[in-house]
């Protein structure tokens, strides 16, 4: 059985770091719809892909979080990217692969992946 002992080492390590990360530093919010509609259409792999990629790439300015149903169930899984002073970008019908592309292009390089946005689906 894995015990909680190892946590003490993590605590020591983190307390020694000069700057602790906190949510206040984050200026990009990535929100995944995780209501019944989102989960049933596959939001979990999308969320997992996003949080793993954000962590692996060390994007400390990005916070990945979840929300309930935003009333666009037919477009789930939905990922919203909100950045200070910018218009919200809504990605629809997401998959883990598409999510990784969004991390690479949008979150890292600042380019919106237009083909996955909701504007591309409602014409």
């Amino acid at each position: 059985m894995k015990s909680l002992e190892e946590l003490k080492a993590i605590r020591e390590k983190m307390q020694n770091q000069i700057s602790l990360r906190n949510e206040g530093e984050a200026n990009i919010r990535v929100v995944v719809g995780m209501a019944t509609c989102g989960i049933a259409s596959g939001a979990r792999p999308v969320l997992n892909a996003l949080s793993t990629a954000v962590q692996e790439k060390g994007l400390t300015n990005v916070i990945v979080t979840q929300t309930g149903c935003i009333g666009l169930c037919q477009f789930e899984p939905i990922v919203e990217v909100t950045e200070a002073d910018k218009e919200k970008v809504t990605y629809v019908k997401m998959t883990a692969e598409k999510a990784l592309e969004v991390v690479e292009k949008h979150l890292v390089r600042g380019q919106i992946v237009k083909e996955y946005t909701i504007q591309n689906y409602i014409k």
């Binding site: 059985m1 894995k2 909680l4 190892e6 946590l7 003490k8 993590i10 605590r11 390590k13 983190m14 307390q15 602790l20 990360r21 906190n22 949510e23 995780m34 209501a35 019944t36 509609c37 989960i39 049933a40 979990r44 969320l47 997992n48 949080s51 962590q55 990945v64 979080t65 979840q66 309930g68 149903c69």
Partner: protein, 185 residues
């Protein structure tokens, strides 16, 4: 329908979060001799009146002002009762809600339990202000994760910081492996 029971748990636990719970107790108990699996989701949130309970069981009742109604509970109920199991909701206003779903393990219509590690990891790391007490039992083996204990050790370090988040995932998956010996439930 959800393809995995763990997704039902992820979904139904959102109701507890919206009910402003500060502690959510999730218990998965499988007993292969008795051929049953029971899942309990219990919270200390705002609770529901008797009338509200009947409403959440009805998939076609929606007022769109209370967000507690919809397909989440009916999906979970159907997943349990279609195996010959039981489903119940006990709730008291101001005290909290307990959802219990029991399944017949060997029934052909029982969905696989699925990735409970992911469900718990997501719930814990995305809801930093809520405590979770998770117990996973298969036959006579069991493990428990209590975020209150973790919080006490961490002394202010958030549960969603990368090292801690990885640790929680490892804790969940390694201990699960020891309890169920890798058997897919």
């Amino acid at each position: 329908m959800m393809p995995e029971i763990s997704l039902n748990v992820l979904d139904v636990a959102q109701n507890s979060i919206r009910a402003d719970a500060t502690l959510i107790i999730i218990t998965v108990t499988a007993d292969r001799k008795k051929d049953t699996m029971t899942i309990v989701i219990k919270d200390n949130g705002c609770g529901m009146t008797k009338e509200q309970i009947t409403h959440v069981l009805d998939p076609f009742f929606t007022t769109r002002t209370t967000r507690k109604v919809g397909l989440g509970i009916p999906f979970f109920q159907y997943a349990a009762t279609s195996t010959g199991g039981n489903f119940s909701i006990d709730s008291f206003v101001g005290e909290g809600t307990m959802v219990t779903a029991s399944f017949i393990l060997s029934h052909i219509d029982r969905m696989p339990l699925g990735d409970m590690t992911s469900t718990m990891h997501t719930l814990i790391t995305l809801n930093n202000r809520i405590d979770f007490l998770y117990t996973y039992t298969v036959d006579d083996k069991s493990f428990t994760l209590d975020t209150r204990e973790i919080r006490m050790i961490l002394d202010g370090i958030p549960l969603n910081s990368p090292d801690v988040s990885n640790y929680i995932r490892e804790f969940l998956s390694e201990n699960k492996q020891e309890v169920d010996q890798g058997v897919i439930l």
